[in-house]
Symmetry: C2
Subunit: 205 residues, 2 copies
DNA sequence: TTGCTTACATACAAATATGAATGTATATTA
DNA sequence: TAATATACATTCATATTTGTATGTAAGCAA
Protein backbone atom coordinates (compact mmCIF):
# COMPACT_ATOMS: atom_id res chain seq x y z
CA UNK A 1 0.00 0.00 0.00
CA UNK A 2 2.06 2.90 -1.17
CA UNK A 3 0.39 5.87 -2.67
CA UNK A 4 -3.35 6.30 -2.08
CA UNK A 5 -5.68 8.70 -3.80
CA UNK A 6 -6.69 11.81 -1.94
CA UNK A 7 -9.95 10.23 -0.91
CA UNK A 8 -8.29 7.13 0.39
CA UNK A 9 -5.78 9.21 2.26
CA UNK A 10 -8.66 10.96 3.96
CA UNK A 11 -10.06 7.59 4.96
CA UNK A 12 -6.70 6.58 6.32
CA UNK A 13 -6.59 9.76 8.33
CA UNK A 14 -9.98 9.07 9.81
CA UNK A 15 -9.03 5.47 10.55
CA UNK A 16 -6.04 6.77 12.48
CA UNK A 17 -8.25 9.10 14.51
CA UNK A 18 -10.66 6.30 15.29
CA UNK A 19 -7.81 4.00 16.20
CA UNK A 20 -6.35 6.66 18.48
CA UNK A 21 -9.67 7.02 20.27
CA UNK A 22 -9.85 3.30 20.77
CA UNK A 23 -6.32 2.96 22.12
CA UNK A 24 -6.62 6.09 24.27
CA UNK A 25 -9.71 4.54 25.81
CA UNK A 26 -7.96 1.26 26.53
CA UNK A 27 -4.58 2.47 27.67
CA UNK A 28 -4.99 6.12 28.56
CA UNK A 29 -3.54 8.96 26.55
CA UNK A 30 -0.10 9.02 28.15
CA UNK A 31 0.58 5.32 27.89
CA UNK A 32 -0.49 5.20 24.29
CA UNK A 33 2.38 5.20 21.82
CA UNK A 34 2.23 6.24 18.21
CA UNK A 35 3.20 2.69 17.31
CA UNK A 36 0.11 1.31 19.05
CA UNK A 37 -2.14 3.77 17.29
CA UNK A 38 -0.56 2.92 13.96
CA UNK A 39 -0.98 -0.80 14.50
CA UNK A 40 -4.59 -0.36 15.55
CA UNK A 41 -5.20 1.65 12.39
CA UNK A 42 -3.45 -0.92 10.22
CA UNK A 43 -0.65 1.42 9.14
CA UNK A 44 2.88 2.22 10.28
CA UNK A 45 4.09 5.10 12.36
CA UNK A 46 5.17 6.75 9.14
CA UNK A 47 1.55 7.22 8.14
CA UNK A 48 0.56 8.57 11.53
CA UNK A 49 3.38 11.10 11.50
CA UNK A 50 2.47 12.05 7.97
CA UNK A 51 -1.05 13.03 9.01
CA UNK A 52 -0.32 14.36 12.49
CA UNK A 53 2.81 15.96 13.80
CA UNK A 54 2.56 14.31 17.23
CA UNK A 55 0.23 12.71 19.73
CA UNK A 56 -0.99 16.02 21.09
CA UNK A 57 -2.22 17.18 17.71
CA UNK A 58 -3.89 13.84 17.11
CA UNK A 59 -5.61 14.13 20.46
CA UNK A 60 -6.82 17.64 19.69
CA UNK A 61 -8.28 16.61 16.36
CA UNK A 62 -10.00 13.62 17.91
CA UNK A 63 -11.45 15.83 20.60
CA UNK A 64 -12.60 18.58 18.28
CA UNK A 65 -14.29 16.16 15.94
CA UNK A 66 -16.63 15.31 18.76
CA UNK A 67 -16.78 18.53 20.72
CA UNK A 68 -17.15 21.22 18.11
CA UNK A 69 -20.43 19.73 16.85
CA UNK A 70 -21.49 19.20 20.43
CA UNK A 71 -20.89 22.83 21.30
CA UNK A 72 -22.81 23.88 18.24
CA UNK A 73 -25.67 21.70 19.32
CA UNK A 74 -25.61 23.30 22.75
CA UNK A 75 -25.56 26.76 21.27
CA UNK A 76 -28.52 25.93 19.07
CA UNK A 77 -30.37 24.20 21.81
CA UNK A 78 -29.93 26.89 24.40
CA UNK A 79 -30.96 29.58 21.95
CA UNK A 80 -33.43 31.91 23.54
CA UNK A 81 -36.39 31.44 21.28
CA UNK A 82 -39.88 32.39 22.14
CA UNK A 83 -40.20 29.44 24.43
CA UNK A 84 -43.31 29.22 26.51
CA UNK A 85 -41.72 26.97 29.09
CA UNK A 86 -38.09 27.86 29.89
CA UNK A 87 -37.80 25.22 32.59
CA UNK A 88 -38.85 22.49 30.21
CA UNK A 89 -36.40 23.93 27.76
CA UNK A 90 -33.55 23.46 30.22
CA UNK A 91 -34.74 19.96 30.97
CA UNK A 92 -34.79 19.13 27.27
CA UNK A 93 -31.32 20.47 26.82
CA UNK A 94 -29.94 18.30 29.61
CA UNK A 95 -31.73 15.23 28.33
CA UNK A 96 -30.51 15.95 24.83
CA UNK A 97 -26.90 15.95 25.90
CA UNK A 98 -27.32 12.61 27.60
CA UNK A 99 -29.03 11.33 24.50
CA UNK A 100 -26.02 12.34 22.43
CA UNK A 101 -23.87 10.21 24.70
CA UNK A 102 -26.21 7.27 24.35
CA UNK A 103 -26.42 7.49 20.61
CA UNK A 104 -22.82 8.07 19.59
CA UNK A 105 -20.09 5.78 20.76
CA UNK A 106 -17.45 8.20 19.53
CA UNK A 107 -18.93 10.91 21.73
CA UNK A 108 -19.22 8.56 24.67
CA UNK A 109 -15.67 7.33 24.31
CA UNK A 110 -14.25 10.80 23.86
CA UNK A 111 -15.99 11.96 27.02
CA UNK A 112 -14.58 9.02 28.90
CA UNK A 113 -11.09 9.69 27.62
CA UNK A 114 -11.28 13.32 28.54
CA UNK A 115 -12.66 12.71 31.99
CA UNK A 116 -10.71 9.77 33.31
CA UNK A 117 -8.07 8.82 30.76
CA UNK A 118 -6.19 12.04 30.22
CA UNK A 119 -3.81 14.07 32.35
CA UNK A 120 -4.20 17.81 32.06
CA UNK A 121 -0.61 18.97 32.25
CA UNK A 122 1.69 20.91 29.92
CA UNK A 123 0.18 21.08 26.45
CA UNK A 124 -3.06 19.59 27.74
CA UNK A 125 -3.79 22.31 30.27
CA UNK A 126 -4.83 24.44 27.31
CA UNK A 127 -7.65 21.97 26.70
CA UNK A 128 -8.79 22.42 30.27
CA UNK A 129 -9.01 26.15 29.76
CA UNK A 130 -11.16 25.64 26.67
CA UNK A 131 -13.46 23.37 28.62
CA UNK A 132 -13.86 25.98 31.36
CA UNK A 133 -14.68 28.57 28.75
CA UNK A 134 -17.46 26.39 27.42
CA UNK A 135 -18.76 26.01 30.92
CA UNK A 136 -18.96 29.75 31.24
CA UNK A 137 -21.02 29.97 28.11
CA UNK A 138 -23.41 27.29 29.26
CA UNK A 139 -23.80 28.86 32.66
CA UNK A 140 -24.63 32.20 31.12
CA UNK A 141 -27.27 30.72 28.90
CA UNK A 142 -28.75 28.73 31.74
CA UNK A 143 -28.93 31.93 33.71
CA UNK A 144 -30.81 33.69 30.95
CA UNK A 145 -33.24 30.82 30.71
CA UNK A 146 -33.79 30.87 34.45
CA UNK A 147 -34.32 34.60 34.24
CA UNK A 148 -37.04 34.06 31.69
CA UNK A 149 -38.52 31.33 33.84
CA UNK A 150 -38.60 33.78 36.71
CA UNK A 151 -40.24 36.44 34.58
CA UNK A 152 -42.90 33.94 33.65
CA UNK A 153 -43.48 33.10 37.27
CA UNK A 154 -42.32 29.51 36.93
CA UNK A 155 -39.83 29.67 39.76
CA UNK A 156 -40.22 29.29 43.45
CA UNK A 157 -40.18 32.52 45.35
CA UNK A 158 -37.10 34.68 45.40
CA UNK A 159 -34.80 32.24 43.65
CA UNK A 160 -31.81 33.88 42.05
CA UNK A 161 -31.37 32.83 38.40
CA UNK A 162 -27.59 33.09 38.65
CA UNK A 163 -27.46 30.73 41.60
CA UNK A 164 -29.90 28.34 39.99
CA UNK A 165 -27.79 28.27 36.86
CA UNK A 166 -24.65 27.45 38.78
CA UNK A 167 -26.44 24.77 40.75
CA UNK A 168 -27.73 23.19 37.55
CA UNK A 169 -24.35 23.35 35.95
CA UNK A 170 -22.72 21.67 38.94
CA UNK A 171 -25.43 19.05 39.01
CA UNK A 172 -24.94 18.37 35.35
CA UNK A 173 -21.17 18.17 35.38
CA UNK A 174 -21.46 15.83 38.32
CA UNK A 175 -23.97 13.79 36.36
CA UNK A 176 -21.75 13.60 33.31
CA UNK A 177 -18.82 12.47 35.41
CA UNK A 178 -20.85 9.83 37.18
CA UNK A 179 -22.48 8.79 33.94
CA UNK A 180 -19.06 8.12 32.48
CA UNK A 181 -17.70 6.33 35.52
CA UNK A 182 -20.81 4.27 36.12
CA UNK A 183 -19.90 1.74 33.44
CA UNK A 184 -22.47 -0.90 34.36
CA UNK A 185 -25.16 1.76 34.36
CA UNK A 186 -26.85 0.62 37.52
CA UNK A 187 -26.34 3.82 39.48
CA UNK A 188 -26.75 6.68 37.09
CA UNK A 189 -26.96 5.75 33.43
CA UNK A 190 -30.38 4.20 33.80
CA UNK A 191 -31.72 6.97 35.97
CA UNK A 192 -30.67 10.14 34.25
CA UNK A 193 -34.16 10.99 33.11
CA UNK A 194 -35.61 10.84 36.61
CA UNK A 195 -32.61 12.65 38.07
CA UNK A 196 -32.94 15.51 35.63
CA UNK A 197 -36.70 15.72 36.10
CA UNK A 198 -36.25 15.82 39.84
CA UNK A 199 -33.59 18.49 39.60
CA UNK A 200 -35.77 20.75 37.52
CA UNK A 201 -38.83 20.05 39.62
CA UNK A 202 -37.00 21.39 42.68
CA UNK A 203 -37.13 24.78 41.03
CA UNK A 204 -40.75 24.79 40.02
CA UNK A 205 -43.26 26.79 41.94
CA UNK B 1 24.29 9.73 53.44
CA UNK B 2 24.48 6.02 53.86
CA UNK B 3 22.71 4.38 56.69
CA UNK B 4 20.04 6.34 58.53
CA UNK B 5 18.39 5.48 61.80
CA UNK B 6 14.89 4.09 61.72
CA UNK B 7 13.40 7.47 62.47
CA UNK B 8 15.31 9.15 59.71
CA UNK B 9 14.31 6.43 57.30
CA UNK B 10 10.70 7.18 58.10
CA UNK B 11 11.32 10.84 57.37
CA UNK B 12 12.92 9.90 54.08
CA UNK B 13 9.90 7.81 53.23
CA UNK B 14 7.58 10.71 53.93
CA UNK B 15 9.78 13.07 51.94
CA UNK B 16 9.49 10.72 48.99
CA UNK B 17 5.71 10.69 49.28
CA UNK B 18 5.59 14.47 49.43
CA UNK B 19 7.96 14.73 46.50
CA UNK B 20 5.81 12.34 44.51
CA UNK B 21 2.74 14.43 45.16
CA UNK B 22 4.57 17.51 44.03
CA UNK B 23 5.88 15.97 40.82
CA UNK B 24 2.58 14.25 40.06
CA UNK B 25 0.91 17.63 40.34
CA UNK B 26 3.38 19.26 38.00
CA UNK B 27 3.83 16.58 35.40
CA UNK B 28 0.90 14.21 35.80
CA UNK B 29 1.19 10.70 37.16
CA UNK B 30 2.07 8.97 33.90
CA UNK B 31 4.78 11.35 32.83
CA UNK B 32 6.41 11.27 36.21
CA UNK B 33 9.42 8.99 36.43
CA UNK B 34 10.87 7.49 39.56
CA UNK B 35 14.02 9.44 38.82
CA UNK B 36 12.13 12.73 38.98
CA UNK B 37 10.51 11.78 42.26
CA UNK B 38 13.85 10.75 43.70
CA UNK B 39 15.50 13.98 42.64
CA UNK B 40 12.66 16.04 44.09
CA UNK B 41 13.03 14.15 47.36
CA UNK B 42 16.79 14.61 47.38
CA UNK B 43 17.57 10.91 47.13
CA UNK B 44 18.31 8.43 44.36
CA UNK B 45 16.03 5.93 42.72
CA UNK B 46 17.56 3.30 44.95
CA UNK B 47 15.91 4.88 47.98
CA UNK B 48 12.56 5.19 46.27
CA UNK B 49 12.58 1.55 45.22
CA UNK B 50 13.64 0.53 48.68
CA UNK B 51 10.56 2.15 50.20
CA UNK B 52 8.08 1.47 47.40
CA UNK B 53 8.02 -1.36 44.92
CA UNK B 54 6.84 0.82 42.03
CA UNK B 55 5.06 4.01 41.07
CA UNK B 56 1.62 2.52 41.50
CA UNK B 57 2.26 1.60 45.12
CA UNK B 58 3.69 5.03 45.80
CA UNK B 59 0.60 6.58 44.28
CA UNK B 60 -1.67 4.42 46.41
CA UNK B 61 0.12 5.33 49.60
CA UNK B 62 0.04 9.01 48.73
CA UNK B 63 -3.66 8.79 48.01
CA UNK B 64 -4.52 6.82 51.13
CA UNK B 65 -2.61 9.16 53.36
CA UNK B 66 -5.07 11.85 52.37
CA UNK B 67 -8.22 9.90 51.68
CA UNK B 68 -8.48 7.46 54.55
CA UNK B 69 -8.61 10.27 57.13
CA UNK B 70 -11.00 12.12 54.86
CA UNK B 71 -13.34 9.17 54.66
CA UNK B 72 -13.18 8.79 58.40
CA UNK B 73 -14.08 12.41 58.77
CA UNK B 74 -17.03 11.94 56.44
CA UNK B 75 -18.19 8.89 58.35
CA UNK B 76 -17.99 10.77 61.61
CA UNK B 77 -19.58 13.83 60.20
CA UNK B 78 -22.48 12.09 58.54
CA UNK B 79 -23.18 10.06 61.64
CA UNK B 80 -26.83 10.12 62.46
CA UNK B 81 -26.78 11.73 65.82
CA UNK B 82 -29.73 13.27 67.48
CA UNK B 83 -29.52 16.26 65.25
CA UNK B 84 -32.33 18.73 65.41
CA UNK B 85 -31.70 20.10 61.97
CA UNK B 86 -30.73 17.43 59.41
CA UNK B 87 -30.62 19.90 56.52
CA UNK B 88 -28.16 22.09 58.37
CA UNK B 89 -26.21 18.96 59.13
CA UNK B 90 -25.85 18.21 55.44
CA UNK B 91 -24.88 21.79 54.77
CA UNK B 92 -22.21 21.62 57.45
CA UNK B 93 -20.85 18.41 56.04
CA UNK B 94 -20.47 19.90 52.58
CA UNK B 95 -18.86 23.04 53.92
CA UNK B 96 -16.54 20.98 56.05
CA UNK B 97 -15.21 19.08 53.08
CA UNK B 98 -14.49 22.29 51.24
CA UNK B 99 -12.82 23.60 54.35
CA UNK B 100 -10.54 20.57 54.40
CA UNK B 101 -9.48 21.45 50.88
CA UNK B 102 -8.80 25.03 51.85
CA UNK B 103 -6.81 24.14 54.92
CA UNK B 104 -4.60 21.32 53.72
CA UNK B 105 -2.45 21.72 50.65
CA UNK B 106 -1.73 17.99 50.62
CA UNK B 107 -5.44 17.28 50.42
CA UNK B 108 -5.95 19.93 47.78
CA UNK B 109 -3.10 18.66 45.67
CA UNK B 110 -4.12 15.04 45.98
CA UNK B 111 -7.62 15.90 44.84
CA UNK B 112 -6.22 17.77 41.87
CA UNK B 113 -3.97 14.87 40.95
CA UNK B 114 -6.78 12.38 41.19
CA UNK B 115 -9.22 14.49 39.21
CA UNK B 116 -7.19 15.87 36.36
CA UNK B 117 -3.70 14.45 36.56
CA UNK B 118 -4.25 10.73 36.59
CA UNK B 119 -5.42 8.24 33.99
CA UNK B 120 -7.69 5.52 35.30
CA UNK B 121 -6.54 2.54 33.29
CA UNK B 122 -5.07 -0.85 34.16
CA UNK B 123 -3.91 -0.86 37.79
CA UNK B 124 -5.56 2.49 38.36
CA UNK B 125 -9.07 1.41 37.48
CA UNK B 126 -9.15 -0.28 40.86
CA UNK B 127 -8.85 3.16 42.44
CA UNK B 128 -11.85 4.30 40.45
CA UNK B 129 -13.89 1.44 41.85
CA UNK B 130 -12.92 2.42 45.37
CA UNK B 131 -13.98 5.98 44.72
CA UNK B 132 -17.36 4.84 43.45
CA UNK B 133 -17.80 2.73 46.54
CA UNK B 134 -17.19 5.74 48.71
CA UNK B 135 -19.75 7.62 46.70
CA UNK B 136 -22.29 4.92 47.42
CA UNK B 137 -21.68 5.26 51.11
CA UNK B 138 -22.05 9.00 51.02
CA UNK B 139 -25.23 8.81 48.99
CA UNK B 140 -26.74 6.37 51.45
CA UNK B 141 -25.97 8.58 54.39
CA UNK B 142 -27.28 11.63 52.63
CA UNK B 143 -30.46 9.74 51.93
CA UNK B 144 -30.87 8.86 55.60
CA UNK B 145 -30.35 12.45 56.56
CA UNK B 146 -32.90 13.62 54.01
CA UNK B 147 -35.28 11.01 55.35
CA UNK B 148 -34.90 12.45 58.81
CA UNK B 149 -35.38 15.92 57.41
CA UNK B 150 -38.56 14.74 55.79
CA UNK B 151 -39.78 13.19 59.01
CA UNK B 152 -39.15 16.46 60.74
CA UNK B 153 -41.14 18.28 58.10
CA UNK B 154 -38.18 20.28 56.87
CA UNK B 155 -38.60 19.34 53.23
CA UNK B 156 -40.79 20.72 50.54
CA UNK B 157 -43.82 18.62 49.79
CA UNK B 158 -43.46 15.14 48.41
CA UNK B 159 -39.73 15.27 47.85
CA UNK B 160 -38.14 11.84 47.69
CA UNK B 161 -35.10 11.54 50.00
CA UNK B 162 -33.35 9.16 47.60
CA UNK B 163 -33.65 11.58 44.72
CA UNK B 164 -32.59 14.50 46.85
CA UNK B 165 -29.52 12.58 48.01
CA UNK B 166 -28.49 11.78 44.45
CA UNK B 167 -29.04 15.37 43.39
CA UNK B 168 -26.90 16.61 46.27
CA UNK B 169 -24.21 14.12 45.51
CA UNK B 170 -24.11 15.13 41.86
CA UNK B 171 -24.07 18.79 42.82
CA UNK B 172 -21.22 18.19 45.19
CA UNK B 173 -19.07 16.11 42.88
CA UNK B 174 -19.59 18.76 40.25
CA UNK B 175 -18.58 21.37 42.78
CA UNK B 176 -15.44 19.50 43.77
CA UNK B 177 -14.44 19.12 40.15
CA UNK B 178 -15.02 22.75 39.39
CA UNK B 179 -13.36 23.80 42.61
CA UNK B 180 -10.24 21.95 41.55
CA UNK B 181 -10.25 23.20 37.98
CA UNK B 182 -11.07 26.79 38.89
CA UNK B 183 -7.50 27.60 39.82
CA UNK B 184 -7.85 31.36 40.03
CA UNK B 185 -10.90 30.90 42.22
CA UNK B 186 -13.02 33.50 40.53
CA UNK B 187 -15.81 31.18 39.49
CA UNK B 188 -16.32 28.67 42.23
CA UNK B 189 -13.71 28.67 44.94
CA UNK B 190 -14.85 31.99 46.34
CA UNK B 191 -18.51 31.15 46.10
CA UNK B 192 -18.80 27.70 47.52
CA UNK B 193 -20.50 28.84 50.69
CA UNK B 194 -23.29 30.61 48.83
CA UNK B 195 -23.61 27.78 46.34
CA UNK B 196 -24.02 25.20 49.07
CA UNK B 197 -26.46 27.37 51.00
CA UNK B 198 -28.51 27.90 47.87
CA UNK B 199 -28.50 24.20 47.09
CA UNK B 200 -29.80 23.27 50.51
CA UNK B 201 -32.28 26.10 50.55
CA UNK B 202 -33.91 24.71 47.42
CA UNK B 203 -35.00 21.77 49.53
CA UNK B 204 -36.38 23.69 52.46
CA UNK B 205 -40.04 24.09 52.92
C1' DT C 1 33.45 -6.24 69.09
C1' DT C 2 31.66 -9.01 65.63
C1' DG C 3 28.40 -10.07 62.45
C1' DC C 4 24.18 -9.30 60.41
C1' DT C 5 20.88 -6.12 58.61
C1' DT C 6 19.33 -1.78 57.02
C1' DA C 7 19.07 2.17 54.12
C1' DC C 8 20.37 3.63 50.78
C1' DA C 9 23.80 4.75 46.15
C1' DT C 10 25.64 3.09 41.91
C1' DA C 11 25.84 0.35 37.86
C1' DC C 12 23.76 -2.51 34.35
C1' DA C 13 20.75 -4.58 30.96
C1' DA C 14 16.65 -4.55 28.50
C1' DA C 15 12.71 -2.41 26.71
C1' DT C 16 10.28 1.19 24.73
C1' DA C 17 9.39 5.63 22.52
C1' DT C 18 10.35 9.52 19.64
C1' DG C 19 11.35 12.34 15.53
C1' DA C 20 13.59 12.60 11.61
C1' DA C 21 15.74 10.84 7.55
C1' DT C 22 15.32 8.20 3.73
C1' DG C 23 13.20 5.18 0.37
C1' DT C 24 9.55 4.26 -3.04
C1' DA C 25 5.68 3.51 -5.85
C1' DT C 26 1.85 5.68 -7.40
C1' DA C 27 -1.36 9.87 -8.21
C1' DT C 28 -1.59 14.01 -10.05
C1' DT C 29 -0.48 17.69 -12.98
C1' DA C 30 1.67 20.50 -16.43
C1' DT D 1 3.93 11.60 -20.94
C1' DA D 2 7.40 13.31 -18.11
C1' DA D 3 8.07 15.64 -13.80
C1' DT D 4 6.71 16.26 -9.42
C1' DA D 5 4.38 15.88 -5.26
C1' DT D 6 1.95 12.69 -2.29
C1' DA D 7 1.12 8.97 0.91
C1' DC D 8 2.92 6.26 3.04
C1' DA D 9 6.84 2.26 4.79
C1' DT D 10 11.35 1.53 6.52
C1' DT D 11 15.41 2.59 8.94
C1' DC D 12 18.23 4.97 12.23
C1' DA D 13 19.96 7.52 16.03
C1' DT D 14 18.86 8.99 20.42
C1' DA D 15 16.65 9.33 24.68
C1' DT D 16 14.14 7.74 28.55
C1' DT D 17 12.53 4.60 31.78
C1' DT D 18 12.31 0.49 34.36
C1' DG D 19 13.69 -3.22 37.44
C1' DT D 20 17.30 -5.43 39.26
C1' DA D 21 21.77 -6.44 40.80
C1' DT D 22 25.46 -5.19 43.25
C1' DG D 23 28.16 -2.28 46.42
C1' DT D 24 28.75 -0.09 50.93
C1' DA D 25 28.87 2.24 55.18
C1' DA D 26 26.67 2.73 59.16
C1' DG D 27 23.22 1.10 62.77
C1' DC D 28 22.05 -2.46 65.85
C1' DA D 29 21.85 -6.83 68.47
C1' DA D 30 24.32 -10.40 70.89
Amino acid sequence: MVRQTKENAELTRQRIIDAARQVFLERGVSRTSMEQIATAAGVTRGAVYWHFSNKTELFSVMREQVFLPLIDRMDDNLQLENNEDPLAHIENFLNGTIQALNESSATRETYEIMMIKCEYVEEFSEVLRQILNNCDGIIQKLEQLYQRAKNKGQLRASKDPAQLALDTHLFFSGLLHMWVKDIDGSHFRNRTHALIANHIDLRRK
